[in-house]
């Protein structure tokens, strides 16, 4: 259970550094070969593999949403609560409120399915509830 609790704390900390817009602090928790799968039909939708691709993704994210941005984790689900080690699957249900570079404010919600290996993020797959809104937020 200690391992699961450590990972939950890590997830919460990930949300905080995202809101603080600290890309390097976000990447600190990712494996070098990590994979991110992002939904929608925007310039960043699809599969991103490796830390450099991830850095580009988060940099694009910060450019698209230069103003107010607030991710809130509403619920965290841990696959193996009794795990002693630091490998697990965690699902975070989140809501987000952000303003894009055109000054348009959006609210949305979603789920991140996170695979963690040895205390580092190996894969994140994001799902958003309102994909039309997600695409609108990423308008270029």
């Amino acid at each position: 259970m200690i391992g699961a609790l450590i990972l939950k704390t890590m997830m919460d900390s990930g949300t905080n550094v995202m809101n603080e817009r600290d890309v390097e602090a976000i990447l600190k928790h990712w494996r070098d070969d990590a994979v991110m799968i992002y939904p929608g039909a925007s310039i960043v939708s699809g599969r991103h593999e490796g830390k450099d691709a991830m850095r580009s993704f988060f940099s694009a994210f910060m450019e698209q949403f230069p103003g107010h941005m607030e991710f809130t984790t509403n619920q965290t689900y841990i696959k193996n609560m009794l795990a002693l080690g630091l490998s697990n699957t965690i699902v975070a249900e989140f809501s987000v409120c952000y303003t894009n570079k055109h000054g348009e404010r959006f609210e949305n919600s979603g789920v991140s399915v996170v695979t963690i290996k040895n205390a580092k993020v190996a894969q994140i797959k994001d799902y958003y509830f309102d994909v039309d809104k997600l695409n609108a937020a990423w308008r270029q």
């Binding site: 799968i37 939904p39 929608g40 039909a41 939708s45 619920q75 965290t76 689900y77 841990i78 696959k79 699957t89 965690i90 699902v91 249900e93 979603g110 789920v111 399915v113 797959k125 799902y127 958003y128 509830f129 309102d130 994909v131 695409n135």
Partner: protein, 142 residues
């Protein structure tokens, strides 16, 4: 406790649960769908949407009879906390890969009080949208 409730959900998915959805949906169940953004409230409307969704995933009537095939819909991950479970699924529809999550909340009696569905990629959502619309129209005419 939740393991037994989820087991009933899986039995229902396989068509093996006595009473089907009627046995596990709460009368005031709320269904959040990526296809219809307004929450759908109540057992009957939730049943209607879940039935239409099931038909959409199993090829449906838009496919000629000879080519009809069993759905390859499958759950690939299950993670729960308290009385809520997140089930990640994968499927192909008309040759297009899709995946998503069902977030299902039960009450203490094992009845489903909320179902939320999210999917990707966008092409799959659009395809499911078309199929569900057609299936809903058929179901409403029955």
């Amino acid at each position: 406790m939740i393991e037994e409730f989820v087991s009933n959900w899986h039995k229902n998915m396989r068509g093996e649960l006595e009473g089907g959805l009627d046995a596990i949906l709460h009368d005031d169940c709320i269904f959040y769908s990526p296809i219809v953004f307004t929450p759908q409230k109540g057992k009957e409307i939730t049943k209607l949407y879940l039935t239409a969704a099931g038909q959409s995933f199993s090829a449906g009537d838009s496919v000629p009879t000879k080519e009809k095939k069993k759905s390859d819909f499958k759950y690939v991950k299950e993670v729960y906390s308290g009385l809520t479970i997140v089930l990640e699924f994968e499927s192909t529809i008309d040759g297009k890969y899709m995946n998503g999550v069902d977030i299902i909340t039960f009450n203490e009696d094992g009845k489903i009080v909320e179902i939320k569905v999210m999917m990707r990629p966008l092409q799959a959502i659009n395809l499911i949208h078309e199929k569900m619309k057609a299936n809903l129209e058929k179901l409403q005419q029955q």
